[in-house]
């Protein structure tokens, strides 16, 4: 089985991201970048499938700037076999990214596309679903357990009401939730081996993808600062404040 796994370059989860002073977007200058944590979980799952003899080849794919090659290389150090970087300097929307993946699926014909459920930059949670729609493949989002038996896949999904089990046929698109696994560290010998693995470069244009934005960003601003709370003496005062100051009860 051949697996395509997505890795996105995002600001490291430890970084406190600020809005640019001209409000045109987040300020990412000199910010530490890393693989989106959910993508890392997807990579880990693919590598485990390979270790268990289920997968035969893992291709790590990123859509982003030239520097996103670092994240593809990290995926190779974690165990992916080769990489593809769809290079673009524009910040693509989920639909454009999904179209790039559709084009790569047409070329590579994988049996499964594994992605993070969302990236921690835009928190869009759309790319996986859109790839499934464009390819017409079955999909399971928010996976917390994946079991494969021949071309049948059983996925336990994390949904608001609890856990839901779905059965799919390959090829399929699956997105990883937080509890699917705990990603490993890349060992130094594997980092050194990753150097010898190939990363193919392409562009959205070469893939014939129209990347024009569907959404216009008007303004990026930090959320309003939270007001300090007040301590109330007793329940009566609390009810009074809720009624007359906050006006949330009547």
């Amino acid at each position: 089985m051949k697996i395509l796994v997505a890795v996105k370059r995002v600001a490291d989860y430890n970084v406190k991201v600020r809005a640019k002073s001209d409000n045109t977007g987040p300020d990412l200058a000199n910010v530490k970048m890393a693989i989106n944590p959910f993508c890392e979980i997807a990579v880990e799952e693919a590598v485990r499938m390979k270790e268990n003899g289920i997968a035969s080849e893992i291709i790590a794919v990123s859509v982003g700037p030239q520097s996103a090659q670092e994240q593809v290389r990290t995926a190779l150090a974690l165990g992916a076999d080769r990489g593809i970087l769809v290079q673009t300097d524009t910040d693509l929307e989920p639909l454009a990214i999904a179209k790039c993946f559709k084009a790569i699926c047409d070329n590579e014909k994988p049996d499964m596309v594994l992605l993070g459920k969302q990236a921690i930059d835009g928190d869009n949670n759309q790319t996986g679903q859109m790839i499934a729609a464009l390819t017409g493949w079955s999909q399971a989002t928010f996976a917390s357990e994946i079991t494969i038996d021949g071309d049948a896949v059983t996925v336990i999904r994390e949904v608001d009401a609890g856990l839901q089990t779905v059965k799919l046929k390959l090829p399929a698109v699956i997105t990883a939730d937080l509890r699917l696994n705990e990603p490993r560290y890349a060992s130094l010998p594997n980092i050194m081996k990753a150097k010898k693995k190939t990363i193919d470069n392409t562009t959205p244009e070469e893939l014939g993808v129209d990347t024009s934005p569907r959404v216009t960003l008007l303004k990026a601003a930090p959320p309003a600062e939270r007001q300090a709370g007040v301590k109330v003496e007793d329940v009566a005062e609390l009810i009074d404040k809720l009624k007359n100051e906050a006006k949330v009860i009547s």
Partner: protein, 383 residues
């Protein structure tokens, strides 16, 4: 970041170590401080990740990288805020095992290297004595020939990893009739050899998660095949690794100082006094700004010294500068960071309190600042 000195692989190495430190070390370090040592399974985990064999041959599980990669390891481990943990690892990787790498014969390397790189065995270097530290030639431990072995007699002091270690590289005088530099030999001594004992675990001001011992050799019989390198050439072996030891101590200091500044910047920007944050006070933010400048200068000096070493160039002057400057600077930084933490900085539960204690030894161990300054001076005489 730092494209001047580091390759893509080295940047990835740094990223993985940083994550490992945040997830595996920081949450557990306080327990190890109480226990007085780092548990072996942590070192094995580091071995599995290849972090204990950065510099060594692939045939033994190493990765053949250069001095700059050791610097990355020391700097990132330094960010853990647990100096004792860092000492445990760095003595194993960059102060003790290099003796085997540099001077061991194939049989010795085949026997010990795989276990040292995987972390199954932890190694120790025993040179310092109660009466001989930076002055290596003043050592009193002797080894006398006796049939197909040598008998070691004497004691060793302040030996990091000494309590829990497995393989000890012990320096002793094998010829007292010549100049000391020509009469010292290093022996491989294994835990459990007859006549070798750990006389006590030492109680230290800082580095409390590192086990430090006094060792005693009482007619300890060591077979001749355990001579590391050549007979009477041990002094040169010790000297050879000094530059590496000192470079990683400088790097560790820079990692610690950087982390202390990050913690303190966070603290002063949150802490309110007299109606504003401490950060709003010009003296405080300017002193932290200056310290950031100094730490960055120390970092670049350390990278430069390590780069010279990785290019095989003479770097004794630069390494001595880096060791003296960074190991003093980490103390200056800790003093100020503790000061700006106010009362909290004096309480055991704050990281900065521990970091102050841990930093102190770094201007003493691995070549005291005064010795480093003499090394610089010796190389500064104008004809």
């Amino acid at each position: 970041m730092n494209q001047l000195y580091f390759s893509e692989e080295q940047n990835m190495l740094r990223e993985q170590i940083r994550r490992f430190v945040e997830q595996e070390i920081v949450p557990n370090g306080e327990q190890w401080e109480e226990d007085g040592f780092v548990p072996r399974d942590v070192l094995r985990k580091m071995g599995d990740l290849g972090l204990l064999g950065i510099r060594y041959g692939e045939e033994y599980g190493g990765s053949n990288m250069n001095t700059l990669s050791s610097v990355i390891l020391a700097e990132e481990l330094g960010r853990s805020t647990f100096g004792g943990f860092v000492a445990t690892v760095m003595v194993h990787t960059d102060m003790a095992s290099p003796h085997l790498e540099n001077f061991g014969n194939k049989t010795q390397k085949d026997k010990y290297m795989p276990d040292l790189i995987s972390g199954k065995k932890i190694c120790v270097v025993a040179v310092t004595e109660p009466d001989a530290g930076s002055d290596v030639q003043g050592m009193r431990t002797t080894a006398t020939e006796d049939g197909d072995s040598y008998l070691l007699n004497g004691s060793k002091m302040f030996i990091t990893n000494g309590v829990k270690g497995d393989v000890y590289f012990v320096a002793a005088k094998t010829d007292t009739s010549v100049k000391a530099s020509r009469g010292i030999t290093i022996f491989i001594v294994e835990k459990g050899m007859e006549g070798f004992s750990v006389s006590r675990a030492l109680d230290k001001q800082g580095w409390r998660s590192s086990d430090t011992a006094e060792l005693v050799f009482d007619n300890c019989r060591v077979p001749k095949e355990n001579i590391l390198g050549e007979l009477n050439k041990g002094f040169y072996s010790i000297m050879k690794n000094f530059q590496n030891e000192r470079t990683v101590l400088a790097a560790q200091s820079i990692g610690e100082a950087s982390k202390a500044l990050e913690i303190t910047l966070q603290y002063v920007q949150d802490r309110k006094a007299f109606g504003e944050t401490l950060w709003d006070k010009q003296t405080i933010r300017q002193r932290l700004a200056m310290l950031q400048a100094k730490v960055e200068a120390g970092r670049q000096l350390t990278y430069h010294a390590a780069w010279l070493d990785s290019m095989g160039q003479d770097c004794v002057k630069e390494v001595s500068m880096a060791k003296a400057f960074c190991c003093e600077l980490v103390n200056e930084t800790m003093y100020t960071c503790q000061q700006f933490h106010g009362g909290f900085g004096y309480i055991r539960e704050s990281a900065i309190e521990r970091m102050v204690r841990d930093a102190r030894v770094q201007s003493i161990g691995g070549g005291a600042t005064e010795v480093m300054l003499e090394e610089i001076s010796k190389r500064s005489i104008v004809d």
